[in-house]
């Protein structure tokens, strides 16, 4: 079974692309969603308090993602520390999920930092979703109800799209009037043939 990784900067439209893959019957592992689940586990909460402080935990005892994001996206070291805390658990869960879906011709793993985090080590093919900066900022500020500056800060901490494209086996352009579905159908056809 082929392991396909799907990545792209925030607001590039990864989730929409994944939904189309799911419509095509392809299992999709959402690494970022898994990371959010992992973030809520007590072991991780204790570690977060250690290096981010108690103020990142809300009144209900759950991690306040907005506060965590505002802290780590301004500080590369903190971001690395957070990634090193959460990612090993996510990788373990991914391997379990992979075994359960081993009968499919290929599976897709969606992760915003697939290439930066080393998630791509055991990935066979990489799909990168790209979009223009203006569209990405618009999408994220509308979706997360955040200021444009915050989106820009988050974008700065991510690898440049051009660099991601260099590492990609397939590129999906989700900006302007480019249609996603025909692009995804072409990639699906190619992946099924491999």
């Amino acid at each position: 079974m082929l392991k396909v990784g799907l990545t792209g900067n925030i607001g590039s439209g990864k989730t929409t692309v994944c939904k189309v893959f799911e419509t095509l019957g392809v299992p999709v592992f959402y690494a970022d969603d898994e990371a959010k689940k992992v973030l809520n586990s007590q072991v991780i909460i204790n570690k977060l308090i250690e290096f981010l402080g108690e103020d990142v935990i809300d009144a209900a005892g759950k991690p306040d993602r907005a506060k965590i994001a505002s802290k780590v996206f301004k500080d590369k070291q903190l971001l690395d520390k957070l990634n090193n805390t959460i990612h090993p658990v996510v990788i373990e869960n991914y391997n379990i999920w992979l075994k359960a879906n081993s009968h499919f011709p290929y599976t897709v793993k969606e992760a915003a930092i697939l290439l930066e985090s080393g998630y791509s080590k055991d990935i066979d093919k990489i799909i990168v979703v790209v979009s223009d900066e203006k569209t990405m900022i618009e999408r994220v500020s509308k979706r997360d109800n955040v200021r444009e500056e915050d989106v820009l800060n988050r974008l700065k901490n991510q690898m440049l799209q051009e660099e991601k494209v260099k590492m990609a086996d397939f590129v999906i352009n989700n900006s302007g009037n480019n249609m996603l579905i025909p692009q995804i159908l072409n990639i699906h056809e190619s992946l099924c043939k491999i």
Partner: protein
């Protein structure tokens, strides 16, 4: 007769016979060539019927022919010229660029026309056929032109018109591409059209995920229009659904905020729980729990001296991809302790 023919064949086998046969064949060929030369040198009239196709039409107009849009062209030519003109291999369509048309106005209407002289010039320029045009009928082609406008409209997909197999329903959001299209239509119809609708007639008995290409139609009856692109791609996720029921504690909705019943110590609801019956996707069956639902009575419905102390229970929030069947009971009795 048979004997005569036999003798003739035998004589042809001889040296003299073979020579006579060769002379005969050469004479026959020469006479055929002479006949062909006479025939092909003679002038003939040939009639061609052309369908007129206007190219590069301005986006500002819708063009339609007034009367005939077919041209009858008579050529005078010799057989030799005809053979070398290649006319017999060309199509019966004549393409005329919109810029070649002249503009006029009649009864307040814009018209475009082209005269036979201009068509003749175009035919000579285009066909490189060396044929003499004898006549062109009709001598002028008229086209009416109505002002066209282009507008961008959203694509509308009516989920309720999709026919699923029994037990199957839409799961999650649809992905429609593109979400808006350009419609070119008569200026007078511009205000009538607000959306392009994905034609769902072909979707029947859906029971698995599908990516469909659906033609677009307009939401209004207009005489002339062009939609670009003509179709949309729709990704539909489909799941099998089943029923599930839960007992859910009734909360109190007050000015948009949801409160536990304990926050109103003077209030008693009878019963304090309702049974919520929903349709849930099979894959979510085990993950859907009662705490994901909020049902509530509205505090604005409380009356200190009610004739019938009953209040309606409404579903305030629920997980995604859940369809509500019923809330039992729909109304509950209440007491306000004093």
């Amino acid at each position: 007769m048979k004997i005569r023919l036999k003798k003739l064949f035998n004589s042809l086998k001889s040296k003299d016979g073979k020579r006579a046969l060769s002379v005969f064949i050469i004479c026959l060929m020469c006479s055929f060539m002479f006949w062909l030369f006479i025939k092909l040198s003679r002038q003939n009239l040939i009639q061609y019927n052309y369908i007129v196709k206007i190219t590069n039409i301005s986006k500002d107009y819708f063009i339609s022919p007034i009367g005939k849009s077919e041209l009858q062209v008579k050529y005078r030519t010799t057989g030799v010229k005809f053979l070398f003109s290649g006319m017999y291999t060309t199509s019966d369509e004549i393409k005329i660029d919109f810029s070649q048309f002249l503009r006029t106005r009649k009864s307040g209407e814009t018209r475009f026309y082209i005269t036979s002289q201009r068509i003749e010039q175009l035919l000579f320029a285009d066909a490189s056929n060396n044929l003499e045009v004898v006549s062109i009928w009709p001598d002028t082609l008229f086209f009416s032109a109505k002002r066209a406008v282009e507008k961008k409209v959203p694509v509308f997909f009516d989920k309720s018109k999709v026919e699923y197999s029994p037990g199957f329903k839409l799961y999650g959001d649809l992905i429609i591409e593109p979400d808006s299209v350009f419609v070119r239509l008569l200026e007078s119809d511009a205000m009538k059209v607000d959306a392009a609708i994905a034609d769902t007639k072909s979707i029947k008995g859906l029971e698995k995920n599908a990516i469909l290409t659906l033609p677009l139609i307009l939401d209004a009856d207009v005489s002339r229009f062009e939609i670009s692109p003509k179709s949309v791609n729709v990704a539909i996720a489909v799941e099998k659904y089943t029923e599930k029921s839960f007992d859910v504690d009734i909360a109190v909705l007050c000015n948009g905020e949801v409160y536990d019943i304990e926050d109103f110590p003077e209030l008693r609801l009878l019963p304090a729980k309702v049974s919520v019956n929903v349709v849930v996707a099979l894959k979510d069956y085990n993950n859907i729990t009662p705490d994901m639902f909020v049902v509530a009575v509205d505090c604005n419905d409380f009356s200190p001296h009610p004739k019938t102390p009953r209040m309606s229970v409404s579903l305030i929030s629920q997980p995604e991809n859940i369809f509500l069947n019923s809330i039992t009971p729909e109304k509950v009795d209440y007491l306000i302790l004093k």
